[in-house]
């Protein structure tokens, strides 16, 4: 049996979910025996592969670039997992939503005391008005709430995927866990 091809993607999040994934410590070896991490901020690949079995996505969708990457990844992935509260609910990045992108940029780059007040635009993806969870854009197959989800939770989810028992999986986690 070929190994499960796993990708992870980092959108608007703090990388805490990826850290939690690393916190599975020695169990990473167990996982590595049965899956290949083919794309991830943790590995070197630059291009998202044409096809992966599973993608775990951390972070909310906050920019045009986030959205484009998410849509591409959805097309190329069998199973899409929203990993952590930012991907599941918008969480902390979504706290700017009541304000809107423009007002937030103004507050941060112009109205707060900085040396050269200007809103950076060059080479930066344009912000969406709202930071939103993944399922507002593409279908999501599994939600793993938590900020971040505990290493045990992530391990349980991946182990279930490998074992083929992910359907109707109920994880011991909650928003803000």
């Amino acid at each position: 049996m070929s190994k499960l091809r796993l990708a992870t993607l980092w959108l608007d999040g703090c990388s805490g979910c990826h850290m939690s994934l690393l916190d599975t410590d020695e169990r990473l070896l167990e996982l590595a025996a049965q899956m290949d991490i083919v794309y991830s901020p943790l590995v070197d690949t630059k291009q998202f592969p044409e096809r992966v079995d599973v993608v775990c996505i951390e972070g909310a969708v906050s920019t045009e670039e986030d959205e484009a990457r998410l849509r591409l990844v959805r097309q190329r992935s069998g199973l899409l997992i929203a990993m952590g509260d930012c991907a599941v609910t918008g969480n902390v990045p979504a706290m700017r939503n009541p304000l809107g992108a423009e007002a937030m940029l103004r507050a941060v780059y112009r109205e707060s005391p900085v040396l050269a007040p200007q809103i950076p635009i060059e080479d930066l993806p344009r912000l969406h008005g709202h930071a939103l969870p993944l399922h507002r854009f593409v279908p999501v197959d599994l939600f793993i709430p938590g900020c971040p989800p505990a290493a045990d939770t992530l391990f349980a989810a991946l182990a279930a995927l490998i074992a083929g028992t992910a359907d109707g999986l109920r994880l011991d986690t909650r928003f803000g866990a």
């Binding site: 609910t89 979504a94 939600f143």
Partner: protein
């Protein structure tokens, strides 16, 4: 004079209760848990959150257990696929209504809304969130009110009016624009009627009302004070 004792069936079990009791009370006395949010023992029941809805045989409608008096021979179902679906939807509607960010909330881990979501296996919010722009009132020297986290259960309004007798809090506007309000829409710290007793803070099911200086997950409400206070007062009056 005591009320007559009635017998009824809840979830297939024969139980009995006083005629003056509600379905919720009798269920609780018999160890049958019905989810609630706006209800709090010691305060008047309002039937607002609709989480405690139950099915009653012979009635096409659903009935909020917290305000439905028991009747002789009634057959109550407190849990069904349908009720479960409605309860899940209601909790998700509440999450979608305002800006609930559990990860940074003072009540994280001690929040009734968060716990309801966990209990119902809600792993995401199906409805788009509304992201209203709401204020945080930090004008009080010891407490803070964050409208972003308020679920409008009105426990604070009721405890302030019914128990403390100050009636500092009420509800302004209507529909989706309702908000908890102090005095004449006065900043809490300037509300002349507030005694600063803090009862409202300790009945809040979420982190909307909290003690100042508490950080993430540090706000633990003292819940049991209320039934104790009510019982004690009744005793003193005798």
């Amino acid at each position: 004079m005591s009320a007559p004792i009635l017998t009824l069936t809840i979830d297939g079990r024969q139980v009995s209760g006083l005629a003056s009791e509600t379905v919720l009370q009798v269920a609780k006395e018999n160890g049958i848990a019905i989810p609630t949010l706006c209800f709090l023992e010691g305060l008047s029941a309002t039937g607002a959150c609709r989480l405690c809805m139950v099915e009653i045989e012979g009635s096409p409608r659903l009935h909020p257990a917290c305000v439905t008096p028991i009747q002789e021979g009634m057959t109550v179902t407190t849990d069904s696929k349908r009720l479960f679906g409605y309860r899940r939807a209601i909790v998700q509607l509440l999450f979608s209504e305002r800006n609930h960010v559990c990860a940074v909330c003072v009540a994280n881990g001690h929040c009734e809304l968060q716990e309801l979501a966990r209990a119902f296996g809600i792993d995401h919010i199906a409805f788009p969130c509304r992201h209203p722009a709401l204020e945080v009132d930090a004008s009080h020297s010891r407490f803070v009110l964050d409208h972003n986290r308020c679920v409008l259960c009105t426990r604070c309004v009721r405890v302030c009016g019914e128990i403390e007798g100050a009636h500092t809090w009420d509800v302004k506007n209507r529909g989706i624009r309702i908000q908890i309000v102090a005095d004449l829409d006065t900043p809490w710290g300037a509300a002349a009627t507030c005694t600063g007793c803090g009862k409202c803070v300790h009945v809040c099911p979420t982190g909307a009302l909290a003690e100042k200086g508490k950080s993430m997950a540090e706000m633990r409400q003292k819940r049991p004070f209320l039934p104790y206070l009510v019982a004690n007062r009744a005793e003193e009056r005798k």
